[in-house]
């Protein structure tokens, strides 16, 4: 059965008015970079009301921590309020929630560097722009990040040359 796993998670979050930014590999894809990714990386706002709503949606999505899925540990409010990365698993696939990305950049710092995109069925999401994705990967500079940089840089070059 063909499922729209990524779309399902994003739609659930949008329908619950969660404030988040799509970052990582999916952000690169949505910006037009031909890269593959299996997970969904999101930076979320840690405003108390947003955390309450997010926790509720994570419950509806049956999200558990990926490190020991057999224990079915669920994220709680204090996990979300912290500054770490929550590597979760849902029936729709992996979901990584980041309090900050790159050089400790939180939701508010990243927001000016986003583009709102329509991903179908009226669902609109905030996506980190390609310039900032490149900047973060240059800062992180792990082998994984460096490997994808040539594709991201060329995508930025081509998109600047031929804007949609």
């Amino acid at each position: 059965m063909q499922q729209r796993r990524l779309f399902a998670i994003l739609r659930s979050l949008c329908q619950s008015d969660i404030e988040f930014i799509v970052v990582g590999g999916l952000a690169a894809v949505l910006n037009g970079a031909p890269v593959q990714t299996y997970d969904l990386d999101l930076v979320y706002s840690r405003e108390p009301n947003n955390l309450d709503r997010l926790l509720k949606v994570l419950g509806e999505l049956d999200a558990i921590f990926r490190i020991q899925p057999e224990r079915r540990l669920r994220p709680n409010h204090s996990h979300l309020a912290g500054t770490g990365h929550l590597n979760l698993l849902t029936p729709y696939g992996p979901l990584d929630l980041l309090a900050v990305a790159g050089h400790n950049l939180g939701f508010a710092q990243l927001l000016p560097h986003t583009v709102e995109m329509d991903i179908g069925e009226g669902v609109r999401v905030r996506v980190l722009n390609l310039e900032t994705i490149i900047s973060i990967k240059e800062y992180l500079a792990s082998e994984k990040d460096l490997a994808v940089l040539p594709i991201l840089r060329q995508t930025l070059r081509e998109s600047t040359r031929r804007p949609r």
Partner: protein, 58 residues
């Protein structure tokens, strides 16, 4: 008459960047809407998962 989409600058016709990136693939993905990019990625993920599942049970 040339097709409207044909670039006037011959340099745009390069297929690969000097560091080996396939520019034709990038141009193709840039021609899609964000929704189409997401759908294509999900289709590919589903195809790969189906192949893995098929081979795990045989």
């Amino acid at each position: 008459m040339l097709p409207e989409s044909k670039p006037a600058n011959p340099a745009v016709l390069e297929e690969y960047s000097p560091d080996g990136v396939d520019l034709t693939l990038i141009r193709w993905t840039l021609s899609l809407t964000p929704g189409e990019r997401l759908q294509f990625l999900e289709d590919r993920i589903n195809e790969v998962l189906a192949i893995r599942e098929r081979n795990a049970t045989t």
